[in-house]
Symmetry: C2
Subunit: 237 residues, 2 copies
DNA sequence: CAGTGGTCTAGACCACCGA
DNA sequence: CGGTGGTCTAGACCACTGG
């Protein structure tokens, strides 16, 4: 099982520590040997040990305190990353074909609610797009999006047969912050029609707000038919 | 040559690169200066530059290819962590009162489907619990859970007025891996009744499988009324 | 081939912690 | 005080990429 020859030294140190923790030899709160101890044990330099331990901190396996030492972390903090991903890439990654139907694309005036989200005045100019994304021809996402012209002035001229709003915005309005909310709800009549589902079919609705530099760049309402789509993730040590 | 120790050199390099990206000077796909270039620019050693760039890879801001170079990452830059969190803590964190109703707690025999999930034989002994979690008296989660006796042999004796299954398992079966799936669907008749909602109300359903060491520890089906609960998150650089 | 990142060393000085 | 981690250096050899 050991191809040690090609495994970097810092990986060997990490593997050793992970094994002790996973096998319960070192329990949460237990002290991990000091850098100098590991340095001697493995016969490598301290910098290499240091790198291994720093990476384990990032992975959440240990915590370190200057002057005190390294201890095994309380393992209650398993988490997974939910990436902001372009649905085009997502569908391709599953080996399927992605296609888009553009339903609507125009400039609009901001309602009071939209103005507040975008931190603009009521009646300010916004772009509005509505698309339906299909995977192998089957609708999987209804995308209703408002865009701040200050972040993407040429949005109305984009050919959404060639790119997606998500991709275009990622490329033209460098993302600095985003927040989302995922709920379950019933689709509107129009959403149901576009997704080719009955209005009684529950849907996942993600509302996502993105910020680019000084501007609130975009507010999107993404509706997924509950039976055709799910968010999946994995946590791992 | 010791620097002004206030800000470590590698942090200065990271801040510089982040600034270029955030201000749009370097667009996604653009090349980042090589390690030796940055080494000269900052007057520091290559190892220090290397550390800065490696940390930026972990943060998802850049990607590196040996022999080719470092480029600003395309899309995956922003991601958020979806933590595996105890609902008791979650409700308390919102400043509300958490309470639990135990509906069912017993040993059962594994069906074929359950046996496969737990990597056990059909008919193997499992524990089964059903609880309803309330926030300020209002049901917000229906928790239907199967537990592997090998991971938590005393599960049937736990007083779920004092702790939650999630917390008990985190404390007694150190987590090594977990995977989840979030879908939208309608509740079963029993779930709707326990949650005090109509069977036509869409719900978020999270299915979560946890692994502890050699055992699949638990499989949980968590049903949230769509109108009373949402998953929220934030991405930030 | 020249340039890039991937890894590693054997030192060093410092700030911090606990006894 | 001695031991710990936090940081940094000035080299080094290697594997890989691209032209």
């Amino acid at each position: 099982m050991a191809e040690d020859a090609v495994v970097p030294a810092y990986e060997r140190v990490k593997a050793f520590i992970k094994a002790q923790v996973n096998q319960g030899v070192w329990r949460p709160g237990a002290a991990v040997p000091s850098e100098s101890a590991l340095q001697q044990q493995f016969g490598i330099s301290r910098m290499t040990v240091n790198r291994a331990l720093r990476e384990l901190v990032v992975e959440g396996l240990v915590t370190r305190t200057q002057g005190s030492g390294t201890v095994v972390a309380q393992l209650h903090r398993i988490s997974s990353t939910l990436a902001l991903r372009d649905i085009h890439d997502e569908v391709l990654a599953r080996g399927h074909v992605h296609s888009t139907r553009l339903q609507h694309l125009a400039a609009v005036r901001a309602s009071a609610a939209l103005a507040e989200v975008f931190r603009l005045r009521r009646g300010a100019r916004l772009f509005h797009s509505v698309l339906v994304h299909c995977e192998d021809g089957l609708p999987i996402q209804y995308e209703d999006r408002h865009v701040n012209p200050a972040a993407a002035p040429d949005y109305l001229g984009v050919d959404f047969a060639l790119t997606t709003p998500t991709r275009y915005l990622l490329e033209h309005a460098p993302l600095t912050e985003a927040s989302y909310s995922i709920e379950a709800s019933l689709p509107s009549v129009q959403e149901a029609a576009c997704l080719a589902i009955a209005p009684s079919v529950p849907c996942l609705v993600m509302t996502r707000r993105t910020v680019s530099g000084p501007h609130v760049a975009s507010l999107a309402r993404l509706v997924y038919p509950g039976l055709r789509y799910s968010f999946n993730g994995k946590f791992q040590l």
